[in-house]
Symmetry: C2
Subunit: 181 residues, 2 copies
DNA sequence: CTTAAACATGTAATTAATTACATGTTTTAA
DNA sequence: TTAAAACATGTAATTAATTACATGTTTAAG
């Protein structure tokens, strides 16, 4: 048990999020709908069992609280051991060259000729999709990082948003390159 | 069984590959080490069982051949039903906005201040990694698509390589933006 | 007031994917 | 000629991840 070999990166992300502030499983799940979601995904059904295992391993602890009359909440915090583990993860090299997946590009791949009538509508559909996402990300940057101060206060958040924006921008540019109208 | 709901995109990629030419499971696994590997990954241990299931479902068939004295090979080909399924997949919309993962970006995210001494070495390490990958992809494009003819003969292959190159180029540019030396 | 959305926590079932185990043949280079 | 690399096919064990099931509370809007 606890052997090396299986990566389980989610646990490190949870450690990182809890290092920012104590949070509930629900809060953590929410984080994956916002900026983190651009670079990692997880559902609450994956998070709750993992929190249990991490607590059993002594990396986090929780405190039971009650919101309102009787809504039970578990606020999780890092233990010193969990904090050590987080620091070790950030410091270790990341030589993986993230294996990424893209179903749309593969569909294009299986279209043999550049005159196939399906190509242009497909490109347009993807352009709409990525343009929408880009607009959404840019407007979020405008509201969240309106001041230089905000940028300094949450540098990691700024970086991750900037990277997501660049990624979408570049995807849009690539699609546009092959659009003929 | 065979319900909708679970995506299983690998089967479509296999259909697409077999549509290009009849191939063995080994050949298919190899394809994921080359251009396809930039956008999808699969090991032979995932491929062989899936080929079985797809054959049972009537989407592909195989022919036993022998290489040399006694090396058994199974050449798989599409059935008409499998071909229909491939065409339907390519034609259906791809509104998923591919959930992607990036461990390195997340590590940066958990570093709070822009003066943290770990940031610059981390950026340099990633730059080296992505620059190497970019060089590799560009040299492959140079050798495989030296003529316009080659480009027309395998347009899908060209597209997928071009997209991979752009992606790496942009990643390198983004990393460089935050490097201070 | 009432109802829908958001808050909050879990488990069950299933599928996707990786790593390891297992075996044998053919080709190529030293 | 011999050893390593590539060819070729599978299964087993485990982990990661998604979808669905299941229940209850609090808040905000109409």
């Amino acid at each position: 048990m606890a052997s090396i070999g299986q990566r389980n990166r989610l646990q490190y992300i949870i450690l990182g999020l809890l290092n920012q502030r104590p949070q509930t499983g629900y809060d953590l799940a929410k984080a994956f709908e916002n900026e983190i979601g651009e670079f990692w995904q997880a559902q609450h059904s994956q998070i709750y069992p993992l929190l249990r295992r991490m607590e059993a391993a002594g990396e986090i602890t929780h405190e039971d609280t009650v919101a309102g009359e009787k809504l039970a909440k578990k606020q999780y915090t890092l233990t010193p051991s969990g904090h050590d583990k987080l620091v070790a993860w950030v410091s270790e090299p990341s030589p993986e060259l993230t294996p990424s997946k893209d179903e749309f590009i593969l569909k294009l791949y299986f279209i043999k000729t550049d005159t196939d009538p399906r190509i242009q509508p497909m490109l347009r559909e993807q352009l709409r999709l990525h343009q929408t996402q880009l607009d959404h990300l840019e407007s979020r940057r405008k509201t969240v990082f309106s001041t230089d101060d905000a940028k300094e206060q949450a540098y990691g958040h700024y970086l991750i948003l900037d990277h997501a924006i660049e990624r979408e921008r570049d995807y849009v540019a690539w699609l546009t390159k092959y659009l003929t109208d």
